[in-house]
Amino acid sequence: MPSQDILVIGGGPAGLEAARGIADLGYKAILVEKRDRLGGTPDEAQYAALTPDLRNAEEAMDEMIAAVANNENVEIRLDSSVTGTNGTLGDFNVIVKNGKGSEKLNVGSVILATGFQHFDPGRETQQYGYYLYDDVVTLVDAEKMLKADTFVRPSNGEVPKRVCFIQCVGSRDRQIGNEYCSKVCCGIASKQAIEIRQQVPDCRVFIFYIDMRMYGYWENEIYWPAQEKHKVNYIKGIATEVLQKGDKLLVRGEDTTLGRPMEIPMDMVILSVGMEPSRGTKELAEIFGLEKNKYGFIETIGGALDTVSTSVPGVFAAGACTGPADLEDSVAMAGSAVMKSVITVRKAKGSKQ
C-alpha cells in the first residue's frame, strides 16, 4: 500500500537533519539507528569541537538530537538495522531488526545517511607505525584527547613539546585505492592544531602537507588563524616515515620548498586519516541495490546539480555515505534529500489516488 512516511537510516548529522526536516514539513519520519544512541560519528568518535566554527560538538549534536527526540512526527528506532526491502517508489516494504525481533515498515521514500568510517592507518602501508608506536595517533585519537582536555603523550603521559600532523593518510593514494581527497582533514588538522596550541601553549605544532585544501571560508576561518594567530607551522612536503629515536619519534621527509631532507624529532605524530565508506553504507547499498562508485561510496546519479538521488527511484542519500563530506555538505544534502523525498511521496500519493 502506498505510504507517505519516509524512512531515514542513520542518526548522524545528515540523518538527524533529514528527520527533523521531514517532521517540520508535516510528514512522518522513521529514524533507524544501529547504535543505542543518536549523534552519529561526532558522538561515537567523541568530537571535541566542530569544524570550522569550533563549536562544542556535544552541545551541537545534543541540539540536533533534541529536535527529533521529542518530535511527534519522528519515530526513532535505536539498536536497529535494516535487513531487507522490497517494493518501489511510493511503496517500499522495509524490514527492520533489533534485539527483540523484526518489523516491516511501509514507507514511500528512503533517505540513507549511513556515513563514513575513518581510514585505518595500519592498513596497506605501515610506514607511519600507527600500531608500532604509542605516540603515533590519528585525528580521531587526538580529538578524544582534546575533548578530555588531556593532550599528553600516550607513551609516558607527559605533555608534548612538539607535535606534527601528517596529511593525506589514506587519501589521494592510488596504491591504497583511495584516489579522492577526503576534503575535511586539512581543516580538522588545522582546527586541532589550534586546540593544541590553546591547551598546551608551549607545544609547537607542525603540519606536513602536499596541498592545503582549505576551500571557501575554511581558509579565513581556520587556516589563516591557525598560522597567523596560533603560530602553527605549515611545511610543504609529506613525511615518508616515522622511526623511533630514543624516546622521540623521528619524522623523515623532504622540506620541498627548501629542497632539503628533514629528520625532525617529534613527541607525537598525528595522522590525518581520511574517509572511507562505513560498513553500514556498504551493506545498505547492497540491500537497496544501489550503484556504488569504485571506492564503495553510494553513487549519486544527478551530477553536480543533484547530489542526493541514487540509482533507485525514491531512495536518496545524504552526507558522507556518498563520498567525503563535511558537516556543511551533510546537512545541506539532508535538506535536499528531504525535499526530494517529500516530493516523491506527494507525487506517489497523487498518482495512486
Binding site: F206, E228, K231, N233, D255, L258, P261, M262, E263
Partner: protein, 420 residues
Amino acid sequence: MPVDKHQIIEKEKAVVEGIELSSDWNRMFEQRVIWDYDLTYMDKITELDGGESLGWCYQCAQCVPVCPVDMVGSYGPRKIYRAVQVGADLFNDDYLWQCTTCANCLRVCPKEVDMIKIMPAVREQAVLDGNVPGELQEAFENTFEYGNPMGESPRKRADWVKDAGVEVPVLSQIKKPVDLLWLVECYPAYHPRGKEASQALARILTALKADYGILGTEEKCTCDTQRLAGEIGLFEEFAEENIRLLKKYKHNQIMVTDPHALNALRNEYPSFGGKFDVIHYTTYLAPLMSRLNLKNSLDIKVTFHDPCYLGRHNGEFEAPRAMLKAIPGVELIEMGRCRENSYCCGGGGGGMWLDGFMVDHVTERLSEKRVREAVETGADVLAVCCPYEVSRFEDAVKSTGNEGKLLVKDIIELVDEAMR
C-alpha cells in the same frame, strides 16, 4: 647532481678540542639535512611591533619574481620566511640589509606580509645591538652629527642657491608667511647633480611667481630612509625637531623634492603630531606646466623611472608623466617595468649607504639593471624625480658601458632646458 661547492665551509681558523686546524683540514660540507625547525627567531621577530606578519607567509612565492633584489641576487621575502622558520638568525644575517623596502612584494602579497614593517623592526634590534654594516653606521652617525647622511657641513646646506641665477627666499630671512614651504632635503642640497636640479626648480618657481621659501641652513634630514634602515631612535628625534621647525613658519603647503621626505611627512610624522599638507614637486608642478613659457623643443626620447616612494608607496604615477608630456619635443617611452611594477634603483631602505656591502650579494647593482632596461627602450634620456636616482643611475650608465648612449636627468632639469 654535482656537489654544490658553495655548501663547502672552510673556516679561516677552526679549533677542535684545543687543536688548531688549517683550512685544508677543516673543510666540511654544510649540513643539508634539516634536524630541527628552530623557531627561536621566528618567535622573536613575530613578537616585535611590526614583525608580526612575517609569520603569515604561506609560500605562494608571488613576491619573489617581483623582488628587485632577487632579480640580481638570491634575496626574496618568501625565502626569508623559510630561512627563519628553519632557524636562521635574521638579526645577524646579511639578508637583513638587502631589502630596499621598495614594496613591490607587498603589492602582490595575498597575506599582506609587510616587509616595509618587518625589516625596520628587525633592523632596529640589530642597530641597538651595534650590528650594522660599517658604511650604513657611518651614514647614521653623519646624520646624527651633521643633519645629513653624507656628513656635509650644515652651514653649507643652502650654498646651492648662490648659483641658481634667481633669488631663493629663505624663511628665516624673509620673515613673512609663504604659500609654499619647499623642503629641499639632503641630496638636492649637497650632491652636485642634486644641486643642479634644485637650481632648476628654483628658476621654475620663480618663473611661476610662486610664493615660497626654503628653510636654508635650518633644514635637517627627514630621516625616513634611516628609519627604514633601522635607526628608529634617530628618526624619532629628527621627526620631533623637524616638526617643531616646520611649525615655526607659517605656510599653506609643504613641497618636497624627495619622495622619501614625502613619505615621512605624509605617513610617519602625523603620529608625532606633525600633520601637514605635503606634496611632491611633480604633483605641484604638473597642473602648472601650461603657465610656463617652454620655448625650446628638446627633440628627445625619454623613458621614466617611477620612484618607489612616489609611486608604489604614495600612489603618484601621473604627475611626472604629465610633466614630461608637457615638455615640447619629448617622446615618452615606457619601460616594461613601470608604474606599480616599477623596478627599484636600489637606494631605498638604506641601500643608498650599502653599495659596498651589496656588491657581495648581487650579480649587478639594481641601478645597473635598471639602466640596461632604459637603454633597451632606445631612449636618449632616463628621466627621474627622486634625488637618490640621478647619482645612482649616472654611475650605472658608466659601469654598464653606456656612456654617450643615455643621459640621466631630473624631470625638472628637462623643464628648465625647455624654458631657458
